[in-house]
């Protein structure tokens, strides 16, 4: 474990995250311009989509079916566990609990990417088709989260609008669109674009995490506002969900690396798709809660300690 932990913590990608956080701490005027942030996220989503699509075009359907169903089940289950914990243990109101449930059931694409890199680096690469699971995991939890709130009659937002927002949102469009392109064009067809999308990937990810470090550090200011329960939730919930993901991953036949990456995905909290949907579907929910928890606590935790933990767990289960 320690070895994986060190390899993960001392990788340029994680160090860039730390550099970003430090830059905010010393009040540097360093700034990742908004269009660069958007460019990097378009690039990263399209790149993992393409890679996944190419892998999918080489994988027999039977091999993918199990993992897809397992992932879907986790996408329905985890918002329910999150909601139960928040209501029972945290005594949180329904609206905010449902909003948080949608976030913790859904997935952070960057956590997935980082987990994939660390798994490969640790000598246990994950299956190539895993990006397809990201797409499968992203949507259901948000629907479940909204359903919980709507079933209780809190109707300030629009259910249909929120759903539309998720499935037409840029993360799904780029991920699924990239997968379709990779699948249609195949390994040969995508060869001319691979210097751009494959060789440049890790460097672009590093720049992206520099920005994430800055964003996470800015979020930390709100930490006092959210209280100690949410801080604990932002660390313990991912561990529980992550362990569950690793376990299910082995159950559906994924490799050691694949199960660990699935664990990281399940444990992660969305901060792109879910906030966009919640803003529309549950506008009364307080962003200070769901953004601070997912961006300020869970993301840094997973990036530094969580991913090595799920890898270690997965190694034990193998």
């Amino acid at each position: 474990m320690l070895e994986i932990l060190l390899a993960s913590l001392l990788s340029p990608v994680v160090l860039a995250f730390v550099l970003g956080a430090l830059a905010v701490a010393v009040k540097s005027d360093l700034e990742i311009p908004e269009p660069l942030y958007q460019t990097l996220s378009i690039y990263l989503l399209l790149a993992i989509g393409l890679k996944g699509g190419v892998a999918l075009s080489k994988t027999p359907l039977a091999e993918v079916a199990g993992p897809v169903m397992g992932t879907f089940a986790l996408g329905v289950l985890t918002p329910l566990t999150a909601y139960a914990v928040l209501r029972k243990l945290g005594r949180m109101d329904r609206t905010n609990a449902a909003a948080l449930a949608a976030h913790y059931g859904s997935v952070s694409a960057v956590t997935f990417i980082a987990a994939q890199s660390v798994a490969a680096f640790a000598g246990t690469p994950s299956e190539g088709f895993l990006p397809a699971l990201v797409a499968v995991l992203e949507v259901p939890a948000i629907i479940v989260g909204l359903m919980i709130a709507y079933a209780r009659g809190d109707r300030a937002g629009s259910w249909q609008e929120a759903l539309r927002e998720v499935v037409t949102g840029r993360s799904i469009v780029l991920l699924v669109g990239g997968m379709a392109i990779g699948w249609v064009a195949g390994a040969e067809g995508t060869a001319p674009i691979s210097p751009f999308f494959v060789a440049g990937f890790q460097g672009a990810l590093m720049l992206f995490l520099l920005d994430m470090g800055m964003t996470a550090a800015r979020r930390l200011r709100d930490l006092r506002a959210v209280g100690p329960f949410l801080v604990a939730f932002g660390i313990v919930m991912p561990i529980v969900h992550g362990a569950l993901g690793v376990w299910v991953g082995h159950g559906v036949g994924l490799s050691t690396g694949g199960a660990a990456v699935l664990g990281a995905m399940v444990s992660s909290a969305s901060y792109i798709a879910a906030p966009a949907a919640i803003r529309v579907g549950l506008p009364e929910a307080n962003p200070a809660y769901y953004l601070t928890a997912s961006l300020g606590i869970t993301f840094p935790f997973n990036l530094t300690l969580g991913i090595p933990l799920y890898l270690t767990l997965s190694g034990w289960l193998a």
Partner: protein, 105 residues
């Protein structure tokens, strides 16, 4: 120099509703608009969320068109979207440029 009083309508909205808003602004009589990328914070959260930029739409219009646009935005968007709208007085040259030449489209 002959300046003519008009109204400047400013709408700040999440990006997702941009195209629908622009269509409405023109349908209600604006002869043009200017749009820019902004970021913001309001009752629905904001600062320190990346990937959630907004747009600012500005249109110089006649007084009645301004009222109609503001009313339309209030009615259709205030409930479910991150949108604000405000009106200001401006003086323009070539007043006729901003008069709605085409009420229906």
């Amino acid at each position: 120099m002959q300046t003519v009083p008009h109204r400047l309508v400013t709408i700040i909205a999440e990006r997702g509703v941009r195209d629908r808003l622009l269509d409405a602004v023109h349908q209600l009589g604006a002869t043009g608009h200017t749009i820019s990328d902004v970021q913001g914070e309001g009752s629905r959260g904001g600062r320190a969320v990346r990937g959630g930029p907004s747009v600012k739409i500005e249109a110089v219009v006649t007084r009645p068109v301004a009222e109609q646009i503001a009313a339309h935005v209030a009615e259709r968007y205030f409930a479910h979207h991150s949108v604000i709208v405000y009106l200001q007085d401006v003086e323009v040259l070539r007043g006729s440029k901003y008069a709605p030449h085409n009420q229906g489209a």
